[in-house]
């Protein structure tokens, strides 16, 4: 059974204080690992897809990296508008498997 564990559950940063969020996963053949951002009362918003170990993707202050067991979402010099819940999900190769999500990390960036 595919599983995703995210840590920490919650993270509070000062504006400009860089940090990383962790996503550990187990999957029977990784088809893709996905990062989403979710604001309160909204649906998840797609950020990145990573397909193979060693791959990296960047968008503004965010950079996602992937190994064979985990992914990191690095946040460089965060701003208050980066405050949100960040969700990690995986899709395996078995049939038409849905995305399996972790519980998310709630990020608060304080000015």
């Amino acid at each position: 059974e595919d599983q995703v564990t995210q840590s920490p559950e919650a993270l509070r940063l000062q504006e400009g204080e860089s940090s990383s969020l962790n996503c550990s996963y187990t999957v029977s053949g990784l088809r893709g690992l996905f990062w989403y951002r979710q604001d309160p009362g909204k649906g998840p918003e797609f950020l990145f897809t990573l397909y193979s170990a060693g791959e990296e993707k960047e968008k503004e202050r965010l950079k996602a990296t992937l190994t064979k067991k985990e992914s990191f979402l690095h946040i460089t010099a965060p701003k208050p508008e980066d405050s949100a819940t960040y969700l990690c999900a995986v899709q395996g190769f078995s049939g038409n498997t849905p995305l399996v999500f972790g519980k998310g990390t709630r990020l608060s960036v304080i000015a």
């Binding site: 893709g32 649906g43 998840p44 969700l87 999900a89 038409n96 995305l99 519980k103």
Partner: protein, 113 residues
């Protein structure tokens, strides 16, 4: 449409009542998913449609839950004899193929009193 549209955005009902939640996916997207999200949790898979047929309904919690997609576009999630434990945000998502990122709607928040 430009994005996934879900209606209603909020639904309050009484225990034992029947509810329907509607999802209009991105135009041309053949795959449609329903997820359920409880407070402080990640989205939990319910059912997946590829075209008109339910390709995987293994996430439906029991036979009170049912979903249809008769013309391969709009989908309706139906919940019979609602229980307080059904209270959650019901998210719909779509994509163009069998793999890749899902695009989510804003969700329908269901509250069962």
């Amino acid at each position: 449409g430009a994005g996934v549209s879900q209606t209603p955005s909020n639904k309050v009902t009484e225990k034992g009542k029947y509810v329907e939640l509607r999802c209009d996916p991105i135009s041309g997207h053949t795959a449609l998913y329903w997820y359920r999200q409880s407070l402080g949790q990640g989205p939990e898979f319910l059912i997946y449609f590829q075209g008109t047929g339910a390709a995987d309904d293994s996430g439906l919690p029991n036979d009170r839950f049912f979903a249809v997609r008769p013309e391969g576009s709009v989908s309706t999630l139906k919940i019979q004899r609602t229980e307080r434990g059904d209270s959650a945000v019901y998210l719909c998502a779509s994509r163009s193929g069998v793999a890749g990122e899902l695009f989510f709607g804003e969700g329908s928040r269901l509250t069962v009193l």
